[in-house]
């Protein structure tokens, strides 16, 4: 499924040169749909065979997000989550635990969208349902 070969092709298709560090990071991210922070990824990479510096991890995540391979989720004021599932969906964010979970698209139905301000275009709609332990 997510063999090195598939990952390399995925990066190439997105116009990203598949360097050692990028493939390593991609393998971690695309192993399954998940929400990881840059610091978590940095630690995971450096537990593996090859290593990557902090700057490379941050650059790579930014690049992947720009190329549409990742989705940045901004819900926690202290860090960005990178979501390896880029298909349309929404999120629960548990403010007690800091855990982000998915809400499938069909669990929310938005039937009316606002008019955008003059001279702007949409780059995505996020729905975040903040929850806490009851």
């Amino acid at each position: 499924m997510n063999s090195r070969e598939n990952i390399v092709n995925k990066l190439k298709s997105a116009g990203v040169t598949p360097t050692t560090q990028r493939v390593e990071i991609a393998q971690i991210l695309f192993a399954r749909p998940q929400h990881l922070s840059a610091e978590q990824i940095l630690k995971m990479v450096n537990k593996g065979h090859s290593t990557a510096s902090k700057a490379t991890v941050y650059n790579t995540l930014g690049l992947f997000a720009k190329k549409g391979l990742l989705r940045e989720v901004i819900v926690d004021p202290t860090k960005i989550f990178y979501d390896s599932n880029v298909s349309r969906h929404f999120h629960f964010f548990n403010t007690d635990t800091g855990v982000l979970t998915d809400i499938p698209v069909d669990a929310i139905h938005i039937d009316k969208l606002p008019e955008l301000p003059q001279g702007t275009e949409s780059s995505g709609i996020e729905v975040i349902v903040r929850i806490k332990n009851s």
Copy 2:
């Protein structure tokens, strides 16, 4: 409208002791519905008659948010916006300019809501429409 007297009463009603610093911060925030960062508020306070330290501004904003006087808006990974409009509404966030604007409640209609995870309760739904200059 937002005389010192009204502000003092607003704070008291929310169970917040109206100290000099809190009243000063509240007067800035509640002058009109707006989105301000902690740093902006700190600067505004210290241009006025009384002053407040960084720690006090951060503590006060956190307290106001907890008491429901303010709404924290997390859309920009570098800072929290404090929204002095706590009535139900949504937001546009322009990623090119960093400007946050309101979307009236009735401009979006959500007619289906997701089931919450076991043992949790909702503390609010946010809809953020990310936009960029076209």
